[in-house]
């Protein structure tokens, strides 16, 4: 389960909407609490999100590659705040908020993947996924 506070979700949707029709991307910063609840799943608390540059200049409409230097800076800032990068967010312009084969190829176990489907009128759907073995499994997004 991942908890994304309402104000962060609102801000994230604005960022995603402003980037349309290009894919936007970044990381989620917060804490992961060990799985000790009834559901046996880790609980991720998002404290903030960071937008990072999409290096896919020609294919920004349907691909993203995060700037590694930006990732390093985000990691350092998170550690300085005693937080950690807990996941990745990106948008799917005119495409469902479901992981694609391209998403699966570069995914890492242990992170949440928040995907926002966005169209001309703004974000229509936000869902979160985690890698379980070789497959993405949706996780509750609160």
């Amino acid at each position: 389960m991942i908890r994304l506070p309402t104000h962060l979700r609102r801000d994230l949707e604005q960022v995603v909407g402003a980037a349309y029709p290009s894919e936007s991307c970044g990381v989620l910063v917060g804490q992961v609490r060990a799985a000790n609840g009834r559901d046996g799943q880790p609980h991720t608390e998002v404290v903030r999100f960071v937008q990072l540059a999409n290096l896919e200049a020609e294919r920004a409409g349907d691909r993203y590659t995060m700037d590694p230097d930006g990732l390093l800076a985000a990691d350092e800032a998170a550690r300085a705040a005693r937080l950690e990068i807990v996941g990745v967010w990106h948008s799917h312009p005119d495409h469902p908020a479901q992981p694609s084969a391209t998403d699966r190829k570069a995914a890492w176990i242990g992170w949440s993947y928040v995907i926002a489907s966005v169209g001309p009128s703004g974000v229509t759907e936000v869902r979160s996924w985690r890698l379980a073995g070789e497959q993405f499994v949706e996780e509750p997004l609160q």
């Binding site: 590694p68 390093l72 391209t102």
Partner: protein, 103 residues
């Protein structure tokens, strides 16, 4: 007398902490980035293989930064390290709505 190898801090990203018992930082001895990774492999089974391939080259889905510099732009695994340096393992992140194989 051979000087002792410097000790650097290796920062472990969340997805790789399963190999370190949850540790987000490790103190590791070595004179080069390659030696640091080899030392990691000796103490944390499976971790080195997630970062470098069988030839010692950094895998395409990982970035290594020595302090703030991408190791790829330095001397790769041969990059010398100094005492107190920080080696950050940063996952490469990419994806998108485009299906795999689509040109």
């Amino acid at each position: 007398m051979t000087a002792e190898a410097p000790t650097v801090t290796v920062r472990i990203p969340t997805p790789l902490r399963a190999y370190t018992g949850g540790a987000d930082e490790l103190l590791v001895p070595g004179r080069t980035v390659g030696e640091i990774l080899a030392s990691l492999g000796q103490t944390h089974a499976g971790l080195r293989e997630r970062v470098v391939d069988e030839h010692g080259a950094v895998r395409g889905f990982v970035n290594l930064f020595l302090d703030s510099r991408n190791v790829e732009r330095l001397q790769g695994a041969a990059t010398p390290v100094s005492e107190g340096a920080v080696l950050s393992i940063i996952p490469a992140v990419a994806g998108g709505a485009s299906p795999r194989g689509r040109p």
